[in-house]
Symmetry: C2
Subunit: 332 residues, 2 copies
Amino acid sequence: MANLKQIAAELSLSVTTVSRALKDGPEVHPATIARVKEAAKRVNYVPNHHGRALKTGRTLTMTAVYPMETQDHLSDLLKLPLIEGMTLAARQAGYSLSIYSTTPDDDPVESVQRQLQAGSTDGLIITRMVSGDPRVKLLLDRGMPFVAFGRTDLDTAYPYVDIDNEQIAYEATRRLMDKGCRRIALQLLVPGDQASAMRLSGYARAMAEAGIPIDQSLIGHGMFTMESSAAWFDRMLAWPDQPTGLACANELGLLGALHALGRRGLAPGSDIHIVTRDSTRLSRFLPAKIGVHFVDMAAVGRKLVEVLESRIVNPLGPVETVLFKGEFDPGE
Amino acid sequence: MANLKQIAAELSLSVTTVSRALKDGPEVHPATIARVKEAAKRVNYVPNHHGRALKTGRTLTMTAVYPMETQDHLSDLLKLPLIEGMTLAARQAGYSLSIYSTTPDDDPVESVQRQLQAGSTDGLIITRMVSGDPRVKLLLDRGMPFVAFGRTDLDTAYPYVDIDNEQIAYEATRRLMDKGCRRIALQLLVPGDQASAMRLSGYARAMAEAGIPIDQSLIGHGMFTMESSAAWFDRMLAWPDQPTGLACANELGLLGALHALGRRGLAPGSDIHIVTRDSTRLSRFLPAKIGVHFVDMAAVGRKLVEVLESRIVNPLGPVETVLFKGEFDPGE
DNA sequence: CTTTGTAATCGTAACGTTACGATTGCATCG
DNA sequence: CGATGCAATCGTAACGTTACGATTACAAAG
């Protein structure tokens, strides 16, 4: 409620002087600065966000576009440490972080466009990149600072932070082969998005190296939930030529697959081997031998904010791109 | 980039008329309204958030204060569906949701105060209520719309949405007793906060009814992580009078406890029984017989936003309070 | 031909802030 | 004693929006 005008009136100063005093302007008498700061503290003055934003054009707000698969099912657990990393880093950098949820019904380009216009944000964190993602061009054209979580196949340079999904899937597949697996099943999330495409590509590379032809029926798409993962894997386990190795999309996929195995009295480690990506370290606490690829998503979240901040502060600076590698833990 | 002034200049109208036309003001000629809307659409006009907020005092922003235990460990998984429920509901109600992370180092009252002053939000969602929570009085005094996730022991009325933790813990304890357990261990999260106090109270009620004295050494505080849960439970399993029942704080506590059991070659269901609160349905996919109390946190998140919106729209309206009950599933 | 009424549009001020140029007071210097 | 320089402070305008009262044009009524 307290504003510059009130402080100015109380101290018989002009609004200008008060404003300058609060930023330690060199033109203001030190004694006046002290008086102003004392008064500001006393009345609990905090600069009005909108007044400042309107004048300066800077809002000190970052917006993360948060894609949801459905409204009913639990999202990929990696989003929790990601959000925590982002919110904390944003706050420490002096920004507030706004979360903009989108459902599959929303047009992703339009979602971005709306954020652009309203001038309500200094920068955007976009996720769920797709091939030739049109949002990148749009944002570059408008000069809106942004950073992508994930990459896309464009010839223009743009800032991104990504996980090396290709390497993760390659390594996962190789590990399974080391255990003797040749029929290796692969779980993917969103059909057509970049992260899934990279996983598929890493898988294909490992298979090609081993000279094993790819069996499309071993590749599962849309494995968002424990239920869908369990049902899909259960179906495969009924085949005469059931898979002997499985690379899970994430923790939820793993839990679903373990559930399907358990119902048949099977456990991973002897006949069937399982590898998963895990960003919560949850799988390390399961009573099963599982190879785990850990990626520190809180660090990814912090990095996203860091890169975005540098874009905001210096829009013409060098375009940063960061690739996080995972750490593989074979699980005994 | 496009603003009212530009549209007005282009159509040779005043800014006022354009502004009114966009809201279908009855004083504007229908033909003019059509012209204005066409032009607005053509130049992709979206009202500037800060200009509007400054003038009207409404920001169309809600802020959720998000408490974090530590910067390193994964938070309670219930926060993921909670955030998803909140962000989606906020967006559908026309608000954007800002997440304000706080660490244990932050003074919770000061965190709230800062949000208040800056005028950057229309309402607050506060969590992690403590006994006699000073934030409630502060917010009521200032007339800032808010809703609490959780209750506190104050004689003033204020809006809240809560989970019936007392009932959850009572029922959990009773279920364990039904299985024959008398030495029942209880996991709690934050020492001193309201949710943990309620859990403890429900536990105590069930124990009193059964005439079993409470053994303080069976009550564990600060069980935020799988690691701490595992270590704590492991210590107890080494006792000659080890517990025969365990009520876990949440999914992470459960995984930690199962891990400790598994290392000793034990499984829940015969000698030792386990019950947990679960809001991700994760425990249903574990190969263990566990009693589960499910609470739909996405619904809680949506409700929080709904209650907050009604406070914002009608600050003098009736004070809503909502209590979510869980559903118990005995796990076979 | 002036008055009254009404539909449509306009102009000004204000929200709280900051940028920038103008102004004041006072000591110093030729 | 008037000119100059400097430190300190002030005033105005602007960001984009909306609220409110004023103004215009024109038709109908006296």
